[in-house]
């Protein structure tokens, strides 16, 4: 069998790669992430720089979408005011699953410079929507946002697609048994 003969070097000649279906699907998902196009504050300026030719966000497979229905993830780029928080929540709920959120900059992470006297600022966008990747900085350099994007791609690559619940349960049980052992040792 040609396949079996080349198992030691699967790349040799035939262009055959061995892998699970899940890996292939995740690879496809992580390399064509479309994002919801909106900017909130000064972070949006850096975000625009990421989109422009120097940093070229499109090489990650990221295409701006103006409709939340077509978007895979959103980048919360800037200060989230109380007025905007409800709109962001609505936009997040309108996105189709699986959906991801990158929180960009100190304001979106934790309120940033408005943490004490900002009556109008939401102290972290994770108070209204779940966040997958936090990018620190005020505002973050474009390289930092790209790093965040790579983190998100890594996260998507490791996600379970098949037998999700069973595997989650197994992971939980494993964790529990480990903690039980630790507790009994103590």
């Amino acid at each position: 069998m040609g396949l079996l003969n080349k198992l030691d070097d699967p790349y040799y000649g035939g262009g055959i790669i061995l892998g699970t279906l899940e890996d292939v699907l995740n690879w496809g998902r992580s390399k064509s992430d479309w994002y919801l196009q909106f900017g909130l504050a000064c972070c949006a300026i850096e975000f625009m720089a990421v989109n422009a030719s120097h940093f070229d966000f499109m090489r990650f497979g990221c295409i701006p979408r103006t409709s939340p229905r077509q978007a895979d993830f959103m980048i919360v780029s800037g200060t989230v005011t109380m007025k905007m928080a409800e709109r962001i929540k609505t936009l997040y709920e309108q996105m189709a699953e699986p959906r991801y959120v990158i929180s960009m900059g100190s304001c979106a992470n934790c309120g940033g410079p408005y943490w004490e006297h900002g009556y109008h600022v939401l102290k972290g966008v994770d108070r209204v929507i779940p966040v997958d990747v936090y990018v620190p900085g005020c505002p973050p350099r474009p390289e930092a946002l790209e790093e965040g994007m790579i983190k998100l791609q890594k996260m998507i690559n490791e996600q379970a697609i098949f037998n999700k619940r069973k595997r989650l349960r197994e992971a939980e049980e494993k964790e529990k048994s480990v903690s039980d052992v630790v507790l009994s040792q103590n």
């Binding site: 109380m82 007025k83 928080a85 409800e86 934790c110 309120g111 943490w115 004490e116 009556y119 109008h120 939401l122 102290k123 108070r127 209204v128």
Partner: protein, 158 residues
């Protein structure tokens, strides 16, 4: 025209409605004005031949601890001179005549002063909040403002 000449002319015309001219270095000297006749004074400043203050460069609210104030920065495109007007009103009855019909730029400025300080501009055609949500309670830039605990079920303090 310098401020003293403008002040003298206004005093001649409006008498008691013009309270005083104050030097306040390093900021501009200003004329304290009675809020009752503000509209007449502003119209006069805009239309009088040797003043022609056709440009309202800024309108802002102030919290003066016991009172509220409004500051008007005027500029004349023709004569290149400036003047600052100030009015003071009490917090219990914060009514100031609107100058929105005299300088249209005052429209949003007055809405902002209303939104953040609670100054009520009488005669404004659309006096609603401009920055905060419409259902926001209180006037945030007042010194005695307390940050709310929550807004629509979202916790506000850190």
């Amino acid at each position: 025209m310098i401020e003293q000449e403008i002040y003298n002319k206004l005093k001649e015309h409006f008498g008691d409605a013009i309270v005083e001219l104050k030097e306040a270095p390093p900021s501009d000297p200003f004329i304290q004005v009675n809020p009752e006749r503000l509209q007449d004074i502003c119209l006069y400043l805009r239309d009088e031949g040797d003043m022609l203050f056709d440009y309202l460069s800024n309108l802002s609210g102030m919290d003066l601890a016991e009172n509220l104030g409004v500051v008007y920065h005027l500029y004349s495109m023709k004569y290149k001179h400036t003047i600052v007007l100030k009015v003071t009103v009490s917090k219990e009855n914060p009514n100031v005549p609107s100058v929105e019909r005299i300088w249209r730029t005052a429209d949003w400025h007055e809405r902002e002063a209303y939104d953040l300080f609670g100054v009520i501009f009488e005669g404004h055609h659309n006096l609603i909040r401009i920055l905060n949500p419409y259902d926001w309670e209180g006037y945030p830039l007042r010194k005695d403002y307390k940050t709310p605990e929550e807004y629509h079920g979202i916790k506000v303090p850190y």
